[in-house]
């Protein structure tokens, strides 16, 4: 596991001076001000994507991947059921808007809360299983969520999906933002994502973040030091679910529909891919993974209907030759 620790050095090591290797100045600067760096990058992102709706998807799935990475990369547990939290966040935010006419600023926290509640329950049930069984329990429980939402047609729209999550404008401090304008929508969502990123960074830097890594690196030692293993894992799962739920809630506002596919296990698999592609256990990795995945998929789709062939081949190639992911490999390469 020492290689994993090395991999994370840039992100978790807050005392950069002690590092023996010298980082290029720019990377070092990015590492120190990672939230700021991420925001600056995201500010210019829409100019680099083919169209704005895709850029907004990158924001949302980037946040989803970052939230997922808390349990996968930082706690070392492979969850195969995170679609449940993304999806419940989306439905939890979408249903109050579409069916009860709630304002968005009430619906958004509601969506996050619903996802959090589900994460608290599923996490409590799942953390007793380990390794591959953990993956399977999360998969099974998320499938149950899928079927409940699928059957509850009067509220969720069932297979047809939920329609009518129309947030056409947002009023903030007397300012009316036209959410039908793609650029305005992008920056409005970016503000929320930026706050989430800042929070996420704070969590990693907190004592809790340290305990989490200690448990991942050596569970027995951490237990001997008196840390509550199960409690920490559960909290990590819950927080991870909350971030995924926020991503889902934003997805509902972005597309104005909530497809049942948000709860499908393929949506759980995609986030694993994104985290791995970018580099699990690194701060920027998952976001970068989401960006590269969505961009590639978008471009390949235009070229061929057999886009899945390229996605699959990319996967195989990365795992065989760049198991650290893009950002992880970059960090590793810099250190040498």
């Amino acid at each position: 596991m020492s290689s994993k620790a090395e991999r994370n050095a840039l992100d978790v090591d807050r005392t950069g001076e002690q590092r023996q290797v010298r980082m290029p100045a720019l990377i070092d600067l990015i590492a120190r001000h990672r939230v700021l760096a991420a925001i600056v990058f995201l500010m210019v992102l829409p100019w680099a994507t083919p169209y704005e709706a895709l850029a907004i998807n990158i924001l949302i799935f980037g946040l989803y991947a970052i939230g997922f990475n808390l349990i996968f990369g930082y706690a070392g547990m492979l969850s195969f059921g995170h679609a449940a939290f993304f999806g419940l966040g989306a439905y939890g935010c979408g249903i109050p808007i579409a069916k009860f006419g709630f304002p968005w600023f009430v619906a958004l926290p509601l969506g996050v809360a619903v996802a959090g509640l589900a994460a608290a329950i599923i996490g409590w049930l799942a953390i007793r299983a380990r390794g591959i069984y953990f993956a399977m329990v999360t998969l099974a429980l998320s499938q149950i969520v899928y079927y409940v939402v699928f059957q509850w047609v009067s509220l969720t729209g069932g297979e047809d999906g939920l329609r009518g999550v129309a947030v056409n404008s947002i009023d903030i401090f007397g300012l009316r933002l036209n959410m039908l304008d793609p650029m305005t929508k992008y920056y409005a969502i970016l503000v929320i994502v930026a706050v989430a990123l800042w929070l996420f960074s704070r969590i990693l830097n907190s004592p809790f973040g340290g305990v989490l890594e200690a448990i991942r690196e050596n569970e027995k030692r951490a237990a001997a030091c008196g840390y509550d293993i199960k409690g920490t894992r559960w909290l990590a799962f819950l927080l991870s679910g909350l971030f995924s739920g926020l991503a889902g809630a934003l997805y509902a506002m972005h597309l104005s529909v909530v497809p049942i596919e948000t709860l499908h296990y393929f949506n759980s698999a995609i986030v694993v891919m994104m985290a791995l592609l970018g580099g699990m256990g690194t701060f920027f990795g998952p976001f970068l993974g989401a960006l590269v995945y969505l961009l590639l998929e978008d471009i390949i789709t235009v070229i061929t209907v057999h886009w899945q062939l390229f996605v699959g081949a990319l996967f195989v190639f990365l795992i065989l030759f760049f198991p650290r992911g893009i950002w992880g490999s970059l960090l590793h390469w810099m250190k040498q």
Partner: protein, 421 residues
């Protein structure tokens, strides 16, 4: 921006088109979104966005929709367009996913500035495109079966529905099957809106004939093995088994019903009998099965408009014939362009007004859009799969056993749908 242009022979992207599209894409990216976000132009080509599930399980149906939609555009352009303004089809892969479809619809509206949208091969994708399009005031002609899209909660003035809906389809099949094959009816239904809407349609039609429902079984969507449902249906002893499912589910129920000897015991009927699934399933498995359809190529024997579509298709695609869902692609585009022609512009309100009043013969006789829900009032064919021995030629799959000539009485009333009258 990155426009699909289909090679007319194979229906695939040609290399040159791709390179052109790639260079265009690069230029567009370089120019940035300011360039992309131009408003919908009132001159220049008429752009029609066409999201279709080009990849995934319904890709063969989708490819056929694209082929037929392109024919509609070609024929419009050959006839001189809209006072010289040519039409252009912008195809996007919806991947049969409502989220992807919504994203692509946003791209088509915001970046490509399309004037109209058409397409959709599943109710969920169609409703999702409808939501995004109508919020932004773009006319969408939907071409997949759904009852919801007619209802007041999903309908907006920008929503048009060229496809048949479950109420009319199931109604026509029911009115043919119940008097001819018996009144003890069992339902095997895919557990989602499509299935339940169809069953509702059958029961509605059944009232007239006093049918007795002896068994009602729902199965999960995408069920691979139906064997566990058959014992219960057999135990109920119905005259007619109505399977309200679609695509692969349809193919599998038919194959497995054969295994259980169901066909010998009762008549099997489907609301929609798909041309492509019949080809995939073979004559033996489908023999004697009854179902509804919007289009069968042999309509050309009675309708000039069908012959025009078939001839154009044969000429471009090696003598083949358009499938039922493919023909929807043609009719959907035809309706939009006819509306633009009659309005004399691409202005949304003008085109809506024209489409609401026009009577058009796209591919199977005269049709019109009902004013309150913009549902295309049209004929419904009831077809029966031919036994292998009677088949003459590659595309000779069905006998048309009945034609319902279409009228508003086949639809739910405007009040029922929640529209103000």
């Amino acid at each position: 921006m990155t426009t699909y242009r289909f090679d007319k022979k194979s229906g695939r992207l040609t290399r040159r088109d791709f390179m052109g599209a790639g260079i265009g894409a690069a230029a567009a990216i370089a120019a940035g979104p300011v360039y992309l976000r131009h408003a919908r132009a009132q001159d220049g080509p008429i752009k029609i966005g066409f999201p279709a599930p080009l990849s995934g399980p319904y890709s063969s149906e989708a490819q056929d929709q694209v082929r037929c939609a392109q024919i509609a555009v070609d024929l419009f352009n050959e006839a001189g367009g809209l006072d010289g303004r040519m039409a252009e089809l912008l195809v996007r892969d919806s991947k049969l996913d409502p989220g992807e479809a919504a994203t692509r619809t946003l791209e088509l509206i915001e970046s490509d500035g399309v004037h109209f949208l058409c397409g959709g091969l599943s109710a969920s994708v169609q409703l999702s495109i409808n939501q995004v399009a109508s919020q932004r005031g773009v006319i969408y002609n939907s071409i997949s079966q759904s009852d919801s899209i007619n209802e007041a909660s999903d309908f907006t003035k920008y929503t048009f529905h060229e496809a048949m809906n479950p109420t009319m389809t199931a109604g026509s099949v029911g009115r043919y099957v119940f008097p001819n094959h018996g009144k003890r009816v069992a339902f095997l239904t895919a557990d989602y809106a499509y299935g339940h809407e169809m069953v509702r349609g059958f029961k509605r039609a059944g009232e007239e004939f006093d049918i007795e429902v002896v068994a009602e079984v729902s199965h999960p969507l995408g069920q691979a093995d139906f064997s566990t449902f058959f014992p219960r249906i057999q135990a109920a002893g119905p005259d007619v088994l109505i399977c309200s499912n679609f695509g692969r589910d349809q193919l599998n129920t038919i194959k497995q019903a054969n295994d259980f000897g169901i066909k010998q015991q009762m008549q099997i009927a489907y609301p929609v009998l798909l041309f492509t699934q019949r080809v995939a399933g073979g004559a033996q498995a489908f023999e004697g099965i009854i179902g509804g359809t919007n289009y069968y190529w042999r309509l050309e024997e009675d309708h000039e408009s069908a012959k025009r579509l078939n001839d154009a298709y044969r000429e471009r695609h090696d003598g083949g014939v358009p499938s039922d869902y493919g023909a929807y692609g043609y009719a959907g585009i035809y309706g939009l362009l006819e509306g633009a022609k009659q309005a004399g512009s691409t202005d949304a309100d003008g085109v809506i007004a024209a489409m609401e009043t026009m009577r058009y013969d796209a591919y199977k006789g005269e049709q019109n859009f009902r004013k309150c829900d913009h549902q295309a009032v049209q004929s419904v064919l009831v077809i029966q799969s031919k036994p292998e021995a009677e088949i003459e030629g590659e595309y000779d799959l069905f006998n048309v056993v009945h034609t319902d000539n279409g009228g508003e009485e086949m639809l739910r009333s405007c009040e029922e749908l929640g529209h103000e009258t």
